[in-house]
Symmetry: C2
Subunit: 385 residues, 2 copies
């Protein structure tokens, strides 16, 4: 079967944005068409990764609105929701559309508009991702993160500072990302002294609420060659669920969805963790970066914190730079956009368009986490010059 | 490429149901596993067609809830939304998952829980499918239907009764569908004297608001042979959009999405309209059955009403039985479930499991319409004994 390629990308400014979801989707969609050099008329499938435009803005049918706004009618449209991993699921859906022969040119646009709602209202929508047995008794995603972090630190004798160092690193990377919500460094002290949210986690252990959109253009490799000299292929992709009731998991430090989706993506690509040169992980909470590093085989269980302490994941000096984009932590986390934006960063790193953030990389990986690992999708991409 | 088969189906009782969306999805999901003889462990991809569980019930992540409820974890999950054609889009997504080689066993469950909300609240959610330039000034889907029906009747000199006969036929078919919301006949007079909703259309020209769920099991044909003697293959499938602003269309009686998706499905299957033995059309409003008959080539433009008058689409005596299930009109229209339920009816007709509704058929077609034809998906299925 022919490989599926990515030939262009775009990303809007992340942060607090004017307008509504359709503006953000159209902005990213039009820029991606331009970046890929593709006419809107040639888009056969148009996918929108978006979790909750209906809940956030009372507007549904946003994929058809996007087809209208960018002039892609009569392209086939679909909205993809896999909660906070909708973007990664969008990459998988777009991959399937091309790999199945259904489409020779698929535009994927992920986006979410959240900041016009209060943090409480947004949290209500986000909480409903998980099982009501938990969130209706107050165990929301930040609570899971706090309990898991406490357990991890105690069990593996990890210092609290190691978590804070994830935030410091990702903020430092975000300084060089002109689209990031926060383009500012934070020091260890600021993280450690920020207000408590879910003990031991504090404000700077959490990603913000964000508006934004990002896009990727996918097609068969034979078509990619007509459009670009440098492009990227998706060599491995898989998704998996873990228990929907989080407290039913045997080991709270193991995210089964990360392990299973990673296994599938490695197998499909014929790659090992050692082959990965750069990775975007879903650092919605700092503790999640540790859990994904371990679940994906970058570190042994309970040892990811040591690699972070040693600088193994630093952008400029580390062996495996993680979240060169700034991660969800500093770049922001517009739910449906985040997984697509991870793909944008890996694409730019692999084709050498990452500017100040550029690292040496031929093989990259993204891991996009829904809920508290309730559903996860892992994608491996490779440069194909 | 290997063909994609359907090896089992299920459908819950449609109507006003107790419980919530997760109950309906689980009921259909478990029944489909049993009908197909597939273990939950063997489901690789689990897709949920659902437009608005967040808006209707404040619950998101329902695909992960379903994986939990039927024991399908760690299957990959995704929610598919294409507004009122989410079910048809789910068939396309499930088809792509199998055709791309990503999954060897995909369970698709469509469902919606609507009746606990007032009709006004439901109408608000449904109105938001279309472009705000129209619905925010009061032009909702029923208004489009009324205006289009008036235009059609005047322009093609069709009698008002011809529309009412669609309702009478579909109600008559629904009597023999034990899962239909309304299992009762209505006579012409009842339809013609029912309260006006959007002149010239009256209450009985509209489908009801409904709770319900339906499911299909898809796999490669080589796998199907291990599970079933009689199964169905999807020989053609395609989707398309039309203008998102409805009044921008050149001819209000032509649904471009129907025409384009039909063309794609016919081309892929190598079939013509003449080859279709039975069809499920999206009769959300009676006028839509005419427009789809014409858009799909079953009748010339402006002539579908004549075929209905002649009895061409009757179940027991017609040349092309349409909506043998009772259609959305009498079966009900739980948004995300409807397109899947169309597939269930065609599957049952093709494998000879349609009971009292059985017609002679080797090739069947479903057309699922989102919005007012803003997005449409057409599927052609064939018996493969």
């Amino acid at each position: 079967m022919e490989r599926v390629a990515i030939i262009g990308c775009s990303m809007t400014q992340f942060g607090q944005r004017e307008g509504w979801i359709q503006d953000l989707l159209a902005e990213a969609g039009l820029e991606c068409l331009e970046d890929a050099g593709v006419d809107a008329d040639d888009v056969e499938h148009l996918y929108v990764s978006n979790m909750a435009s209906g809940e956030f803005e009372g507007q549904t049918g946003v994929m058809n609105g996007l087809a209208h706004d960018i002039g892609a009618i009569p392209a086939y449209t679909q909205r993809i929701d896999q909660t906070s991993s909708s973007g990664g699921a969008g990459i998988y859906a777009a991959w399937q559309s091309v790999a199945s022969g259904a489409s020779e040119m698929t535009l994927l646009v992920g986006g979410e508009k959240m900041t016009h709602r209060t943090t409480g209202e947004s949290t209500d929508v986000i909480a409903s991702i998980t099982h009501p047995a938990e969130y209706k008794t107050g165990v929301t995603l930040p609570s899971f993160a706090g309990m898991t972090a406490r357990h991890y630190l105690e069990r593996f004798d990890a210092p609290r500072e190691s978590l804070a160092k994830v935030a410091v690193k990702n903020h430092r990377n975000g300084v060089d990302n002109p689209h990031a919500q926060f383009q500012k460094e934070v020091d260890l002290e600021t993280v450690l002294e920020s207000p408590i949210v879910a003990d031991p986690l504090r404000l700077y252990d959490f990603c913000p609420i964000t508006d934004g959109s990002a896009a990727l253009m996918l097609c068969p490799e034979s078509v990619a060659e007509e459009y670009a000299d440098d492009y990227v292929v998706i060599s491995g992709i898989d998704g998996a669920t873990d228990t929907h009731v989080v407290h039913e998991r045997e080991d709270p430090t193991v995210m089964g969805g990360v392990v299973e989706s990673g296994k599938g993506a490695y197998e499909m690509s014929g790659r090992d963790p050692e082959d990965i040169d750069v990775a975007e992980l879903h650092d919605m909470f700092t503790i999640l970066e540790f859990l994904q590093m371990e679940g994906l085989g970058f570190a042994e269980q309970g040892e990811a914190w040591k690699l972070v302490e040693e600088g193994y994941t630093e952008r400029d000096s580390g062996e495996l730079p993680i979240n060169t984009s700034g991660g969800l932590k500093s770049k922001g986390h517009p739910l449906g956009a985040s997984g697509v934006a991870q793909g944008v960063e890996i694409y730019e790193q692999l084709v050498g368009e990452a500017g100040q953030r550029q690292v040496e990389a031929d093989v990259g990986l993204c891991c996009n986490v829904g809920g508290f690992g309730n559903c996860v999708i892992t994608t491996i991409m490779e440069a194909a010059q």
